[in-house]
């Protein structure tokens, strides 16, 4: 399991752990059932506080990514398609919120925003077809 913490990211340490482990699970890098280090072992390895790792694991467990076994550690739960979907939808919402904030500041209206969205979707299609073309 790969967790690399940044001191200057401005993101709290527990959040960084949560994000990295969550991303790894969603991407399939951490297989279902695989064991994660205990909160104490992780704290020892990363040289951070146990409360921090405990919090990261607690939130990951609350969101259904992992299950913790008291005294033994934690393991990855099967990727639930509802779970994955929920996580991804949340990311869509976060992303759109960010875009919306920027749009308001730029004075962009709904039309302008949809135009940009359509442009991006178009670009994705073109990129996907180009990829397909190359692989033939």
């Amino acid at each position: 399991m790969r967790v690399v913490l940044s001191n200057s990211a401005g993101v709290p340490l527990y959040q960084q752990i949560k994000d990295q482990v969550g991303t790894a699970i969603l991407a399939g890098e951490l297989a279902e059932g695989s064991a994660l280090p205990s909160v104490r072992a992780l704290a020892r390895d990363l040289r951070i506080s146990i409360i921090t790792t405990t919090r990261a694991y607690a939130e990951l467990a609350a969101e259904g990514f992992i299950a913790t076994v008291p005294g033994k550690g934690a393991y990855v739960l099967p990727l639930d398609s509802a779970l994955v979907r929920e996580q991804l939808l949340r990311r869509v919402e976060d992303g759109l919120q960010t875009a919306l904030d920027a749009a308001l500041r730029a004075g962009l209206d709904r039309e302008g925003l949809i135009q940009i969205l359509d442009g991006l979707i178009q670009a994705e299609h073109e990129y996907a077809s180009a990829q397909e073309g190359m692989s033939r």
């Binding site: 704290a43 020892r44 040289r47 951070i48 506080s49």
Partner: protein
């Protein structure tokens, strides 16, 4: 047996011969975590630790250590390891003799572990205690504490005088020690950098009183650091500025988070580091406790 609390102090007050006092000291540590006791020299860290270990009598309040009222049974000390900034052993003893001398007093002395630890720390059994550098001396005392299977490690200013490499090694040693959730650590220091990352709980002590205690996140969340131009901080009303530092280019102080809303937009407000909290609290109300000149090192025993 793992209880809930490694130790607890409740309303502890004590007087030390030269007039220094602890007043209404209360804080506790759940088993399985590391607490940093942070304060300037002379703030009362060593006195607090001596009271906790039963080496110093208290006038008021109560102390609980590993589930027992202090002063507890002498056997309680089987579970406690104490590491100071100096070794408290006879200088002419060789490390092998240290073991022969201390072993009879401990029920659970693990001779194999002692040798393993000495090897891991790079200490030679034939070396004499007086020949050890500060860092090696600290590691020796840790080796002794781990060899008698202490459950609670108490460090009093272990890193003063140590180079950054040795201090970093200590972080690793503590991490290993805490792999067992029945183990706890109390770490008193005036160097906050040691605890920035691995500290679970923090207690701030100043002038013999506890300023604040709680999890590290709670403490960091309880204060904000305020930075502004040289005069900007003076005009603020209704806000208590803690430990103002002024220079020609600006001023800086600590405020409680709940008061930070009154600060207005002209100044920069940020989450502080432990260091900044410690410094500003140390600067605030600069009258030292009676009879203790600034910077005097408290004697341990």
């Amino acid at each position: 047996m793992t209880g809930d609390l490694a130790f607890a102090l409740r309303g502890v007050g004590c007087v030390v011969g030269n007039g220094f006092a602890l007043r209404d000291v209360s804080f506790e540590l759940p088993t399985g975590y590391v607490m940093g006791l942070i304060g300037a020299n002379g703030a009362g860290k060593t006195t607090t630790i001596r009271c906790l270990l039963g080496m110093q009598g208290i006038e008021s309040g109560e102390i609980e250590l590993l589930g027992h009222r202090v002063p507890g049974p002498v056997a309680l000390r089987q579970d406690v390891g104490v590491v100071l900034d100096h070794t408290y052993l006879v200088g002419d003893w060789r490390l092998s003799e240290v073991e022969r001398t201390l072993r009879p007093f401990y029920d659970r002395w693990d001779a194999v572990r002692y040798r393993q630890l000495l090897e891991e720390f790079g200490l030679d059994l034939r070396a004499k205690v007086k020949d050890l550098s500060r860092g090696m001396g600290m590691k020796l005392m840790i080796a002794v504490a781990l060899s008698h299977r202490a459950r609670l490690l108490v460090f009093d200013e272990p890193t003063s005088g140590l180079d950054p490499v040795a201090r970093d090694e200590l972080v690793g040693i503590i991490g290993d020690f805490l792999l067992d959730e029945g183990h706890s650590v109390l770490f008193s220091t005036h160097i906050t950098a040691d605890l920035d990352r691995i500290g679970d709980y923090v207690t701030l002590i100043h002038g013999g009183r506890i300023v604040r205690t709680g999890s590290k996140d709670e403490i960091l969340d309880a204060y904000r650091v305020v930075r502004g131009g040289p005069d900007e901080l003076r005009d603020l009303v209704g806000v208590e500025l803690i430990g103002v530092k002024e220079s020609s280019s600006g001023a800086q102080a600590l405020v409680r988070t709940e008061e930070a809303d009154f600060l207005g937009g002209g100044v920069l407000v940020e989450v502080p580091t432990l260091e900044e909290i410690a410094v500003h609290i140390g600067l605030s109300s600069r009258k030292p406790a009676a009879g203790v000149p600034d910077g005097r090192r408290e004697e341990f025993a």
